[in-house]
Amino acid sequence: MTDGGSGGLVVEAEVRRGGFTLAVSLAAAPGQVLGLLGPNGAGKSTLLSAVAGLTPVSAGRITLAGQVMDDADAGTFVEASGRPVGFVFQNYRLFPHLTVAENVAFSPRVRGLGRRAAREAASHWLDRLRIADLADRKPAQLSGGQAQRVALARALAGQPELLLLDEPLSALDAGTRLDVQAELKLHLADYTGPCLLVTHDPIEALVLAGQLIVLEGARIVQDGTPAQIARRPATDYVAKLVGLNLYPGRADGSQVRLTGGGSFIIPDHGQHGDVLVAVRPSAILVSTESPQHSSARNTWPARITGLTLLADRVRLDLDGQPPALVDVTPAAVAELSLDPGTQVWLTVKATDLEAYPPGERRAPSGQVSDPLLS
């Protein structure tokens, strides 16, 4: 976390909208891409809207480079048009009656440049995003990927001190998405101000953001680097996103009693009290007989309730104490004749279990205290 004192964005605020109140505190430093990850309705877009000045905060304040943009207690507010913010909207919201060049020239023009200077500023950004050949088209004549680039050019042409991206790739089809994502990453690397990137796609967040905040139910439930979050999810939602099994429980040395039933043996690092245990689906072994001679110390019976074919493996949905998602090869499914209803034994090595205290939010980034992480 940074203090955001020099050019950074600091949000310590509540935003009331409709029935819910979003409460967040976050900071983004210049040059940092802060990803906001969360399910629909978590309040991600509301947060962007508050930072842009489209929704006032109901309590707390938002500052940019130490200057107040919105302060509910002091009653001060800078209108959206007065904030140096570039906003790329989810569906881009390109003005349909203007050409691409006019869209991109819009911000320089309304911010006081003459017609000619605004057009030059626009053509600079069109060149930079390599869409100069689209200058005379109307938004209706653009593909999704092209519209995304135009939207980014339009936002950047206003020379914003702060960049807001709301699901910038969600309107694209799978084919163009990867290309545009790679390109967006390059442009974000060039951008010197802080950037907030809202997404519900974990891959997008992992690729584009240097730091992540997970929003759930209008609250921040986790923050950290993408690697930390992928390794130690704090909630079921994050665990599902990154594809891990997650079990809350109470640790007592090497023994973890799981809240939902069952227990695990973990390497003893002297942990006591509430913990979360994360385990990769591919780290769990499936056998049809009770394993007799195994170095693994966690074995439990389970029943298959579902099978899903993923790209190169089959994901088993298993009911047991505890339940689990397990990845096996299609060959294994055939050899062991795994069907819904089949009784199996699950085995996982203690060293494949990642146990950590819940609520790691605010843990200083970069500090790794657990040898399992290194």
Partner: protein, 286 residues
């Protein structure tokens, strides 16, 4: 034996038609077809009568024999002025009604759209009572500026504006309500202040409805009769607009009346054609 209805004949042409449009039979049931045909006859036959009865041989003479040119010119410029005034003050009112909330707004909307349903002659009487020489506003205008409005071309413009502006207001207000405000938000984040947003984003986005509303308003102003004759009278060259000229010509020069009516019919057709994108494709103008 299944419970299947008797097959009927279905031509290859009808098969193609149904395949293209999809769905079930589109043949019109008789209880709907007959009234529909009566309605068509009722609406179209009078116009045919007008065209048949027109003095085609001496149309030019019929027109020049009356004060037709004068009346037409007066009608065109007063209707255009009324439309311009409606645009200048009606569009901002439509914006206020669509985009703001304040107590009494529903009442205000009802009041300003009242002329849509008010008999025009009542509007004329109301204008006369307000702006007449002894009216509460007219008296002030008279004593302060020596200005007398009734029975002048200004009165014609005012009567037409009074009756026609609500058409523009409801059309534009509807368009503003259904317009995507996301564009306006985007414009604000790009640095545009509210008036710039209105001018450079809102207005262009509702331009089609604005055009439709203006044409509708203009057509209504052109045909205005009741309020105009009550408030402005019928002085040839001064306040005698086309509809009033037709009405008087019918008594002593029917050929001229028919010729004038033909001119108005022609103008209406032009208006309708210019509105075809909004009306003739179905749906409402709003």
């Amino acid at each position: 034996m299944v419970n299947l209805a008797e097959p009927s004949r279905l031509s290859a042409r009808e098969r193609g038609r149904r395949a293209a449009r999809g769905g079930v039979s589109r043949s019109v049931p008789v209880p709907l077809l007959v009234p529909a045909l009566i309605a068509v006859a009722f609406l179209v036959l009078p116009l045919i009568g007008l065209v048949i009865r027109a003095p085609w041989g001496h149309l030019g003479a019929a027109l020049s024999g009356s004060d037709a040119t004068q009346a037409l010119v007066l009608s065109l410029w007063t209707a255009s002025t009324a439309t311009a005034i409606s645009l200048l003050i009606g569009v901002p009112l439509a914006w206020v009604l669509a985009r703001t909330r304040f107590p009494g707004q529903r009442l205000l909307r009802a009041l300003v759209t009242l002329p849509l349903v008010l008999p025009p002659v009542v509007g004329g009487v109301a204008l006369l009572l307000a702006f007449g020489r002894t009216g509460f506003i007219g008296r002030l205008l008279d004593s302060w500026f020596g200005l007398t409005i009734p029975f002048t071309p200004i009165a014609v413009v005012m009567a037409e504006t009074f009756v026609a502006m609500p058409f523009l207001i409801i059309t534009v207000e509807g368009a503003l309500r259904s317009a995507d405000q996301g564009y306006e938000e985007a414009a604000a984040t790009l640095g545009a202040k509210p008036m710039t947003v209105f001018r450079r984003v809102t207005l262009p986005l509702i331009a089609p409805s604005l055009g439709a509303g203006a044409v509708l308003c203009w057509a209504r102003a052109l045909g205005e009769f009741g309020a105009t004759i009550t408030f402005a009278g019928s002085f040839p060259g001064q306040t005698e607009t086309m509809p009033i000229a037709v009405y008087y010509a019918l008594e002593n020069d029917p050929d001229a009346a028919i010729a004038l009516s033909l001119v108005l019919l022609l103008v209406s057709i032009v208006v309708l054609v210019s509105l075809r994108d909004h009306w003739l494709r179905g749906g409402s103008v709003v």
